[in-house]
Every structure is written in structure tokens, then in C-alpha cells.
Symmetry: D2
Subunit: 199 residues, 4 copies
């Protein structure tokens, strides 16, 4: 069971400074698992090697207008992001981290919600490029990564979750997604094993 | 914080015999929580009272062609459904349960995946009817109910999860969804409290 | 430039009695072109031969609740359909015509608007079945057929319009769609030439 | 029949230099109608006055990667755009024209096809902002403007086409869209009359 590189894309969800770097608002929430999972180191290793094999690397940031006027009157986790001042267009916090930026082939546009497909050109790009397999990395494992994985499954992509390239707010949530949800919709693996399966 | 009845819909996800009735293939998986939560009794009580107030009741079955030819070569949980012989068009198992059928205003068409919005006219009907609030009941709490709730949130509906009108395969999964996921995207409540908030 | 039969689907849009048969409400509007184009004879010939080659035949009816309660307060052409009493679930007028019914592999569910993809499981079924090419027939050439063709183009399907298997309300509209719009998004051909290109 | 300004958005489709300015690749195709309709002057007048009343102004550019790698192997009108070298990210041609840029509240992201909703966050933004009415201006009247209008109708927005703020490649195509298509799905008007109807 292997993947053809030219039919495979890696989806990098929200590797933005606001999540990944000390001093930015959402870092404290993911710090523990970011360190334990070595999320960034693993993802850098992943994209360098996968890109050499011809895998398409897609960056999927979430970015709001500086004054959040595109959000209307948000509730729930979107309201939290707004109150934290995160993901504002034009800020350093909204940019992809320097470690990954050079390896991104295309930045997907439009993400404003949980799912990387909702309101974005992700599916359009995947179709134009004849992609059949998506491997997902990023934040939060059980929120945006999981919403994207669920929709990818409904869209009939073959889904891989790269568990050592993700992070959640707690080990409990990370483990629940890895063991109870992802096996229903795809494969859960570490990035080295995924790389081995790439033709 | 209350809901106008004519801007509110209840989404009944997969209250089909294959899930709800002894002798049908998916019943054993949900039997424990179905009994503990009194899912069916509560949902019948819910829809009777909500419908009298003018809430729109939508039934959302999942139905495949008798030979599953619409599914292609499914994997994961869709493959499981196929192997179990569940949700085949024209069978008793695919029908909504008799207790709820008379209270359904419209049956949503097209569901073939996890999410009640994917491939269906659910969003179209909600828009045509000027619905702003959706209250979700059904199976499985952490699979189709959760996928539908996540997308409803991205579509900017105000989301309520009626926890005593749902069931999962285990108490652990039920509790995880109720406490870790749903609070990020909406309100989690029992059906009596939801009914009290309806104008 | 040929089409693999197992990667090709024919989309039969609204071959329902309400459009196709004398005495039904929308027949007078299409009668002229239905006769001139020999739409039904050509389409029957098309699906018989294409199905033998392994092409997937999808029926795409538009069906409303008997009292149109799923439509809310429609305007424009949807209001016209409602006022004409067309496409009501459970009526003879809403059924596919007997000449084509036996050749339909799967009936797509959910259509309530102009586009055959909007609110339906058409894209889901095409994906599950690994379809790359869609050939479109039906009514009205410049309304639902054209909306479906435009979206199919955006979804990156290879689009063929089978012009002798369609009908509009006037020759002017038929010709405009055939010569000014369809060439921008796909191929326009008669059904015999399409059949020749099928492997 | 009037429009509440805070429930109304103007959609400015592809007012980019590549279409609007001499010396850019797609200008020759629209030059005749751009001048006859006074498309740009009218649209500037429109957005200045509408914005003062509180209408949301959305810019909807189409932008590809500099090497079009997001397009795969395009056909039809997308291939034409690629061959013309139009709409390349980071070029002057892909930018909105200076006359309109200052009046745009939010630029919609992701457009890669005909329809302004396909692969974009347009619907998400409209929902977040509780918009019910969309008034459409831009290029080409019978291609992207029309695809966007058709989908807006299916999404149950109330649609207005601002005919003196659009342009097609020929008067024939312009007139056909204005008289044969748009009346089926919305209102066709000049911008001054639209402004009068805004509360």
C-alpha cells in the first residue's frame, strides 16, 4: 500500500507564528505538545524529504482582516481567536514560520473556519493537480486538523494523519483523536513511516 | 439568550432502524448508550413539543444504493457500513423509525458521508427557510453528529447539541465529544432545557 | 482525444414528465425544440449505447415537497416552477420518463436549484466512481444544463454538451448557449460523435 | 421593494488591471463595452455612494500562482487566461484598479474559476456579515458575473445585476445575458436605480 508522490499532497495547517513561537498569543496552549511531539522539527524534516520526491506542499493559514470585520459576530473558538488578537492579516503572527515557508509550493487562500476546505480553494487546487492522497499536519490535532481530515474523507481523498507533526492543547485530546477518530477515516502514522510509503 | 422557533431547525441524524432497533446490524454498537441516554424516548419528546412551537424538523438519513454502487471502493467507516449491509435503499433498515417518521417535516436527501451537509440539500433547505439555529440529535455522537455540528459552525449557524438525544459506541467517546469538542462550537444541553429556550 | 468509458458519466438533467410529456405543465415551453432536436429519441439512443460501453448513467431530477415547503419564499424561475405546480414529490410529473428510467444507474438526490451540483450528491458520486468526464443532456439548455456545465468546469471535470440531447425555450437561447458559452468550458457535439469517442 | 444597506453587499468581480487598463492583456477584449457602458466610471460612482450608506464592498479578484502551477493542465477559458499571461500573483496586472481599491472593505480570496463562490470565502463572509442581497458588477457579464449570479440565486441570495457596471466581449453577449438569463434569477438595473432602492 503505497502512495504515488505526484498524486499526494501534504496539508500544513496553521503553522503560523501565532501558534508556533514563544511570545505569540496561542503558543502557550500548544507549547507542551509542540515540545513533546517535536512537531516543528518533524514537519520540517517531512516537507524537505517529501518535496524532493515530488509531493505537493500546501500551506493552509487562517487569516482574518486586521479588525476582524470579515468575522461578523463570532462565537466559540472563533471568538477566542479574535479575543486573543490572533491571525490578523499583515501581522508577523499570521505569517507561516520561517522554517517552513520556503518549502510551501502554494498557499491555500480563504480559511476562516475550522475546516481547511471550508471557504478555501484547497479542493480546487487538489483537483487541478490530480491529487488523490492527502497527508495532514498542524494545529490543533482535534480541531482544524480533524475537521479537515473529516471533510477530506467525505471528499473521497485517501487520508493520512501525521501524528508526530501535529499538536493539541492536551495529551488527552491528542490521544483521543489519534485512537478514536482518525482510524475511522484514514491512516495514523509518524512522518518517517509515511515517507517510506511514498513512491 | 433564546431561540425563535421559526428560525430554528432540529436535525435528526440517522434515526434509522439499522441503528435504532434490535435485530438490525448497527444496533449492537449503540445499544448501551441508546438505553442509558434514553435517546429515542427523549428525541420523540423533543420533536413533539418543538414541532408544536413551530420548529422545523428535518430528518437526515444516510442511504446507499442496494448494491452500494454509488460508493465506489469505500474505506474506513464507509466500508464498515457496507460490510454490515446497512442503509440500503428500499430496505426496512434504511427507513426512519416509526416513532419519529410522522414528525419529520422534510427528509434531507443525498447523505453518503459523515457530514449531514456534505452532498445534501440540508444547507439549501435551511437557507430557503431562513433558519439561523440548528439543534442536533442522532448517531453517532462523535462521528456524523460531530461532523455535522463542525460544519454547521463553519457555516455560521448557531449550534446546539442535544446530548440526551444522541448516542455513541462508548461512554468515553460520548463524554469526550460533549466536554472537549462541542463547547468549542456551540452549546451542549439536554432537550428539556433546549425546549425552555424556544420562544 | 478520447474518453475512457469507466471514467465517464452522462448526466440526464430533468428528463421528467413535467418537461417531456404533453399535458404536463412545462411541456409547452420546450415542445418546439424537443421536437426539432428530437431530444428524447436522441437521448434514449445515447444512453442505450453508452451504458453498454460501461458509461455511468446518472439521472438528476428536481423534486420539491408536495406543498413546496422546502422552497421557502422563492423568486424568479423557482417561483415560476412553483406556480406551475411542477416537480412535486410523489406526482407523475416529477417522475423520470419511462423511456429513460430503466437505463439510469443512480438517481442523484437533492436538486432544488439551477445547478445539478448545488445541494446534491452528484459530485460525491462522481468522486466515489472516479469519473473524470461528464457529458450533459437535458433541460433547459441555457438554464439548468448550463449551470451544471459551468460548475462541472469549475470542478475540473472535462465537460461535453450533447446538443441534440437538450432543449431550450427558444432556438435563439439554444444557439446562444451552444455557440457563445459552451465552447468556453467544454466541447459541444451531437450524441453520435460523442459515442464514437468513447473507448 | 427596497434593500437594507446593512444586509447588502456589492460584489466587484475582477476589476483588475489585466481587464481594465490599456496595455494589459485582456483589455482589448472588453475595450468596446467598457467604453460604451462606462463600466469603470459607473462602478466608482456606485461604490462611493453605496459605501457611505453602509453597504459592504467586496473585491473578488482572480489570481493564479506566477507559474500557474495551481491550475494543473487547464482547458477552455482558463487555458486562454494562462496563455495570455493574465492574473499572475504579484504582478501589476493582477491588482485591483487604483480607482476602486480604496473603497473595497474586504478582498475575497481563492477565486480560480468562473464562479465567485467556487473555492472562495465569499459565502462565508456574506454569512458572517448577515448579508441577504448581493449586487454584482464586473467582468465578463456572461462568464464570471453570470456564473456568480447563478450560484448566488441557488444560495438564496436576492440578486441584482448592475448592468451599467459590467462588460462583455460583445454587445450581443451583453444583451443576451441582460435579457434572457438575468431576469430568471434576479433584477437587472442601472446603478443609479439600485442606489435609490437602498435604505
Amino acid at each position: 500500500m503505497e502512495y504515488k508522490a505526484n498524486e499526494t499532497a501534504i496539508l500544513l495547517i496553521e503553522f503560523q507564528n501565532d501558534f508556533c513561537k514563544p511570545g505569540f498569543p496561542l503558543y502557550p496552549g500548544v507549547e507542551k505538545l509542540l515540545k513533546e511531539n517535536k512537531t516543528i522539527e518533524n514537519t520540517v524534516d517531512l516537507v524537505k524529504k517529501a518535496r524532493d520526491k515530488g509531493v505537493l506542499i500546501l500551506g493552509i493559514p487562517i487569516v482574518f482582516e486586521p479588525d476582524y470585520k470579515d468575522l461578523g459576530d463570532p462565537v466559540g473558538i472563533k471568538e477566542n481567536a479574535m479575543k486573543a488578537g490572533a491571525f490578523r492579516k499583515g501581522t508577523k503572527g499570521a505569517e507561516f514560520i520561517d522554517e517552513l515557508k520556503p518549502f510551501v509550493d502554494i498557499f491555500v487562500e480563504g480559511k476562516r473556519g475550522l475546516c481547511g476546505f471550508h471557504g478555501t480553494n484547497l479542493d480546487a487546487i487538489l483537483r487541478y493537480r490530480h491529487i488523490k492522497n492527502v497527508a495532514i499536519a498542524g494545529f490543533l490535532t482535534n480541531v482544524c486538523v480533524e475537521s479537515t481530515a473529516r471533510t477530506a474523507f467525505d471528499l473521497n481523498y485517501r487520508v493520512t494523519i501525521l501524528k508526530d507533526c501535529t499538536a493539541a492543547m492536551s495529551r488527552e485530546e491528542q490521544t483521543h483523536a489519534e485512537t478514536k477518530i482518525f482510524p475511522l477515516i484514514g491512516e495514523v502514522t509518524i512522518h518517517q513511516d509515511f515517507l517510506k510509503k511514498l513512491e
